[in-house]
Symmetry: C2
Subunit: 589 residues, 2 copies
């Protein structure tokens, strides 16, 4: 496989795609170099099973590999821009797969986010309030690539932040991963405690740390959250270790090239190593359900990466909220066909959270009552927590001095859209969102269409199937998922007709462990892709009522249907057919 960040030429309408030589030789079928201009047609399937066809030609002086015909359509349909990346992967049987990874665009403020995602609107907010008051379950869908929230982070980072406290004058460091894969850090001093954004959310009781960076030219945001930093060993003395003119590039907002997101050191030749490959994927859950046995240590780091580099990206990442009453569980006999699910499951995990896709529902084994029963053992622990860890939790005291705060956003979704779940705890159900007075609530809701949602932390209570790690307040496992089978992502991705899932969580877990796959190709064993293909086709063809099959690159056909020349009623019919196809594409792209 190979991955290439697209150049301006690649995405320009002027030309095609310049394939790195090594990549073409490794990944594409060999060409007959005896010919004057050897060429072939490549067919690659994307994440959604759609076929993309490209003309692969070896020409020019000096010779180089190019993708010409078909490439432009791909760029347009995927809305790729310079800085995005494409990824090609060849399986053992020669089948090609491809995916895209979009660059982390600097969003134009939060309003942009609210356009990309289903915003957390007033109705959703009411749902959450209702769910909490009713002690019922609700879900938050979060796409870390479409938008980033300051306050949705790997829970282990949050727990870790409780281990130390900050006070004014304290020195701190902020780790980050630089482009040469070495660890770098910024340092600074805490100057105070402040509101997160006095302008946009004036009067908010959410507090952040005001800091001054040692690195003067770093125009980073001067507000950080405690989990973003850690105390430095040296004490106080503001400009002691000041390092003016850091040799590192600034990584703030003005950076045009998203190289921090695409580590330079990882080129095409490095891709064979899966461990390195994982680091390329941005904001995507890599380990997913494998956190089953070691939840705490395997939590993803994506939020920390993003938040360090975009400290002022406060846009809410909440995609949608569905309020599901706990007694709303439908008959547990319901079962989807799970054929080949692990295929697409794996496939989705490889790609980042940028491409919207069907959120595969996961049925849980136990009923919701199990979760409720488990509240009892979990509650004292959580309650004790906020008492003993006196560190930065004082930042929250303005919410409610009697609060037992037990937030733990769980990140463990098989989909590209991460799923958070919250199970209210009747014994420790004092949630920050609870303690906002009504006036505060209104201001938050009406202030902006996008929603600043520090309140969306959920009390995550461990289930009764303990023994996952040393800590009791572990990070959730399969069998404590809650009734996620009832939750379907709203917003961009329309649920397709077939939504495969597993009959039991055990089945899911075992299948995840049994194979390690990438793009549907096994990385550890021989592939058996037939099942997956069937599933894909089934799901897609049902959309068009069998009128067409998903197929791209019409220009390879002898002649596309002449829409313009058809007349009368047939004209409309042709248009409708195209419309249906475009709808399928729009959903899939």
């Amino acid at each position: 496989m190979f991955c290439k960040t697209l150049t301006a030429s690649d995405t320009s309408t002027h030309g095609g795609f310049s394939v790195p030589r090594r990549a073409a030789e490794d990944c594409f079928p060999p060409l007959d170099y005896n010919q004057q201009r050897p060429s072939q047609e490549l067919v690659a399937k994307d994440l959604h099973g759609l076929e993309w066809r490209f003309r692969h030609i070896y020409r020019g002086q000096p010779r180089r590999h190019l993708l010409t015909t078909g490439w432009s359509a791909f760029v347009n349909k995927k809305k790729l821009v310079s800085g995005d990346a494409v990824l090609f992967l060849r399986g053992e049987n020669g089948e090609l797969r491809l995916g895209i990874r979009r660059a982390a665009h600097i969003k134009n403020g939060t309003s942009f986010h609210s356009l990309c995602t289903q915003p957390l609107n007033r109705s959703n907010f009411a749902d959450v309030v209702h769910a909490i008051s009713m002690k019922s379950v609700f879900s938050i869908y979060y796409n870390p690539r479409a938008s980033s929230s300051e306050f949705i982070i790997p829970v282990h980072k949050f727990w870790k932040s409780l281990d130390h406290s900050f006070s004014v004058g304290m020195r701190f460091k902020m780790r980050f991963e630089s482009e040469d894969a070495a660890e770098g850090r910024y340092t600074g001093v805490v100057t105070g405690i402040s509101e997160m954004d006095p302008v946009r959310w004036s009067g908010s009781k959410w507090r952040c740390l005001l800091v001054r960076w040692d690195d003067i030219d770093a125009n980073r945001h001067n507000r950080v959250s405690p989990w973003e930093i850690e105390p430095s060993s040296s004490i106080s003395s503001s400009n002691s270790s000041l390092s003016p003119g850091s040799k590192r590039n600034r990584v703030g907002l003005p950076s045009g090239k998203p190289e921090f997101m695409v580590p330079e050191g990882i080129g095409a030749s490095d891709f064979g190593e899966s461990l390195r490959f994982q680091k390329v994927l941005q904001g995507q859950e890599i380990l997913g359900f494998n956190t089953h046995h070691d939840g705490a240590n395997s939590q993803i780091m994506h939020r920390s990466e993003i938040s360090r580099r975009f400290p002022c990206s406060n846009g809410s990442g909440i995609a949608a909220i569905r309020n599901i009453g706990r007694d709303t569980l439908v008959n547990p006999d319901i079962s989807y066909k799970g054929v080949g699910f692990e295929e697409s499951f794996r496939f989705q995990k490889v790609l980042q959270g940028q491409e919207t896709s069907v959120s595969p529902p996961c049925r849980r084994g136990p009923t919701a009552d199990d979760t409720r029963e488990s509240d009892s053992p979990g509650a004292p622990d959580v309650g004790q927590l906020s008492g003993t860890r006196s560190g930065w939790s004082s930042l929250m005291q303005s919410y409610n001095t009697h609060s037992h705060i037990g937030p733990s956003a769980q990140v463990s979704s098989p989909s590209s859209v991460l799923k958070f779940q919250h199970v209210s705890n009747p014994f420790a159900n004092v949630n920050p969102i609870h303690n906002l007075n009504s006036q505060e609530k209104e201001r938050r809701v009406h202030k902006s269409s996008s929603f600043h949602a520090p309140e969306t932390y959920g009390d995550r209570i461990p289930s009764s199937t303990g023994g996952h790690g040393s800590r009791r307040r572990h990070l959730g496992s399969l069998d404590s998922f809650g009734p996620s089978a009832d939750t379907v992502q709203l917003g961009d991705s329309q649920p397709l007709s077939a939504q495969p899932t597993f009959r039991t969580s055990q089945e899911l877990a075992s299948s995840c462990k049994s194979s390690c796959r990438l793009f549907g190709f096994s990385l550890t064993e021989g592939g058996h892709d037939a099942a997956k293909e069937d599933n894909m086709v089934q799901a897609t063809s049902s959309l068009g009522a069998g009128a067409f099959l998903p197929r791209i690159g019409e220009q390879f056909n002898t002649q596309p249907p002449a829409v313009t020349n058809t007349v009368g009623s047939s004209y409309t019919k042709v248009s409708n057919l195209y419309a249906v196809r475009d709808i399928v594409y729009d959903i899939a792209l």
Copy 2:
């Protein structure tokens, strides 16, 4: 104003838009006919406040009015096809407005519907079940233009159908409105009672009438619902009044030109009469909140029209369902700025339910408790109903012989998306959906991504503010709306940042009565459009964070930004800017 159904030439990429002469003279600013080819630039705002610019030229031999430059962009952006219609309206101040009305496309099966609208999926379904079991409020958003449901009909038709019963062998007639505005009718004989669709919903307990049509060549569906037909005076004798080879055109599915939806008799010249104009609007609530004083008689007829002509269009029209617990009501102090709301309100009402738009939330005056209190007087009436009117209610007996069926889908939304509301009745809360066994529920949910939803009838209980008509079970009024302020349409239309509403329902009602407006222009009095404009701009500009203003027809500028020629980081930025604009368009169009 004028309205024109688009021809193939109008929507072809080859040319522009041919403006009817009378329309151009009446609606567009006058041209200087002394010139060789007089032309001018027209600027028209659409429903969402977006400006569209067209070059209006008077040329050709013979001379005719044309819209050239800018028209193609409009067609593409709006995805207009032949058969759709555009509507231009000029205000007193010369400001132009325009809207579109899409033809009623024959959808390619139900899966198409589920793509267009937010389908009634399993999660939504669970919400409804939950809401009913909790006796709480839920809302159903229904777009009669995007899809049609067999079972969402004007309630007066349902009531009327209870007046007579059908039995096998009975003759019936089905009225319809033919293209020459005369009333026509089909006749037939009842042959039995059947499931609605044994294939797609096998085992469903919902029953329809099996019929045989006298008109042999009419390939209509042989299943009708009781409210679609009425008993004929003549009795039995199957082929007695058979009329072979009806001179009327068949109005079944094969009809390519949707002339039945656009009555031929209504041309541009007829548009001045508002009464006629109303008939042009398809499936749109015309009278809306004015049904306050005469609900029964002013209910819209749209469903009957559609269902008669598309008897086999069983696609669910449910756009989305939001489950709002009745105790979820947020602080009643919340109030949006209602400035100019009646403007857009009226504007939306004029256009049909095709263009998605923000669903303006309507706050109700009384609290939810008022509705609950009114259950008591309403319930006996409803209960008595199903007992005394023994007609076709026997069709429902398979649901629950002890049911008190009191359905009354209320159609009274200010938005283009009709809103149905259901308030469960503790005294008569036996709802069809209630009595499906769980197996049935699952089958329905899994059968198709689109949802056959006869169960979505709501028990509509009259409020305590009686005196609306002679019948106690009237059709709902403003003050029995329920907490609709909490419900925002999901699906296509993203809620914009500003969602104006009225502080009290009385305020809404009075403002609706005080002015009769079309496209924001007053039809009865002098316009005061300033407030509306401000509101529009506010809502839209917040999307782009002030980076741009909604503006179309860039080709009128001296030179559009050369995206292709820009390089480096600026390239990406330009692309992003365009992307933002396109997003705004995509939402608005």
